[in-house]
Amino acid sequence: MDLIANLSLGFGVAFTPINLMYAFIGCLLGTLIGVLPGIGPLATIAMLLPATYALPPVSALIMLAGIYYGAQYGGSTTAILVNLPGESSSVVTVIDGYQMARQGRAGPALAAAGLGSFFAGCVGTLVLAAFAVPLTEVAFKFGPAEYFSLMVLGLVGAVVLASGSLLKAVGMILLGLLLGLVGTDVNSGVARFSFDIPELTDGIGFIVIAMGVFGYGEIISNLGKHESEREVFTADVKGLLPNKEDFKRMVPAVLRGTTLGSVLGILPGGGAVMAAFAAYTIEKKTKLQSGEVPFGKGNIRGVAAPEAANNAASQTSFIPLLTLGIPPNAVMALMVGAMTIHNIQPGPQVMTSNPELFWGLIASMWIGNAMLIVLNLPLIGIWIKLLSVPYRWLFPAIVLFCAIGVYSTNNNTFDIWMVAIFGVIGYLFIKLGAEPAPLLLGFILGPMMEENLRRALLLSRGDWSVFVTRGLSASLLAVAVLLLVVVLLPSIKKKREEAFVED
């Protein structure tokens, strides 16, 4: 019963009044920023990171977990109420969620999303706790060749799930990998691509990139649209809780979504989006009961299932991060950055060297989920009010928080100049239709990939076949190739394009 012992250790750490308070503050802030239209979870987390700097590592991680869940929930709220998916995984929530909101059933839609997510989060936490230990043992069998192949798999996954053109997504990843190499090379001590600027020898800060590209880029592009295109929906919300009928339909949908999400989330490469899409497709395939609203017209199952799936998946996507130290998607990449700031190098060693932190974090994820229910269901009214705040008041505030956040990471104005550059680059990406999320993932993985490639080739004396002669590495690469082939198959390619048409 290691599992129970471990979890109770975790809850012991997380259930102190002070940590509960941090979880609460994190959820509150995360939701608060996350519901603002046009700000996805990525920008939210980047913006709120500085708020955790002053805290001890465990509390900081707990608060971050709270921010993460809050931001995600906030994203679903905007998806349902404003028809604006804050991130790709809530793209499908928009379809039925917004229709429900238009019919005055925003309350049940939000409650379905919240309750579904909570249930999925609980299951996801258990899966995470159960799989973490055996997977960590696998992790110790990983040599540099395996790590490299796994990262290739993760990046291929990110490409497959990017919403636009496949080629452009590959380009963004390569660009990210290259940007990640700026700074001092750990092996030779050579400062690469730093143009003799001392601040650049430490590399480009990932917060600078995240805020510039996701924060400023989005704001500029939002302001470029006319008022009418970002019309905020402010119909009355009548009745909060789903009725009996709703519950009857929700429950099986949530169960299916959770199962699917837990499985798909473990795969590197951003399982949350895939899970949400798959869950919605499955719901659509099942037969409509009599008197049920068709999909696309405000069916509650169309909200509950994908929300449950994406929450379960975002929970289980912590598995590759915590056991192998490899972030499976851009949000997790941001979490790696956050952990590094607190002097924690995610990976298999965390569990053995720092069990309180590891299990505390897992417990705090559950607390974060629970906190969301406590916080959000009663406060839905307030979040809706927040949505009616005019954009002309919001965006100067967002610009300010970005600027302050960037400055506070190093207390150096150099980062402010850098974020301006990346703001322009981010806007350019949006105009060119190049999705920036894969770039951030590549950016975090760049140095790791180089290091593992170097070690693998050093051990094999420059023989590239090492990646296919070692069984584990070969099978990881095979999965990556398989994924690519599957996506490039004409029939699936068409389906994929249909699925992303909502973007």
């Binding site: 053109s165 380009g171 302001l223 008041w393």
Partner: protein, 162 residues
């Protein structure tokens, strides 16, 4: 030859340019070989890959037809300018710029400057409204970042605090 997809055409050009720049930069470092990779090896490889990929994307953009030509559309110059300017002025006011002997004005002045310049990016600009917004933001930021989180910021102008 016409461009079938404007977005892809220019993305391809961008990837090519960046790829070539990185690859060229990488050759100024020691490249080495597989068994003994120098600091230039990995960036050179990635740079070449990116340049090739950019070429493919550009080529495809000229050959494969799209429905609407995937135009880039008009640039939002006004928001672009004012948002970036607001950010730059904020940095200038907050930390000063010793190289041109520009003194630091501290957080509060910087917040007012940022809010006013950023607000110019919007469709309407009401002086009174922006003034209220800036004041609210200044008070909130002071409470949250200075009092609560105790972040180290220069708060007031350097010539007042000494």
């Amino acid at each position: 030859m016409n461009i079938k997809s404007q977005k892809d055409f220019f993305s391809g050009l961008m990837f090519m340019a960046v790829g070539i720049a990185f690859a060229w930069g990488a050759t100024t470092y020691k490249v080495g070989d597989g068994a003994r990779m120098g600091p230039g090896y990995f960036p050179l490889m990635l740079g070449i890959l990116l340049a090739i990929l950019g070429g493919v994307i550009t080529f495809k953009a000229m050959v494969v037809a799209t429905e609407d030509g995937e135009k880039i559309g008009s640039w939002a110059w006004k928001p672009l300018f004012f948002i970036i300017a607001a950010n730059l002025v904020f940095g200038l006011m907050l930390g000063g710029l010793p190289s041109i002997h520009f003194p630091a004005f501290g957080l509060i002045v910087a917040i007012y400057a940022l809010t006013f310049i950023a607000a110019l990016a919007g469709e309407e600009f009401k002086f009174k409204e922006v003034l209220v917004l800036a004041t609210v933001l200044a008070i909130m930021s002071y409470a949250a970042f200075i009092l609560l989180l105790k972040l180290q910021f220069p708060v007031w102008p350097a010539f007042i605090t000494g």
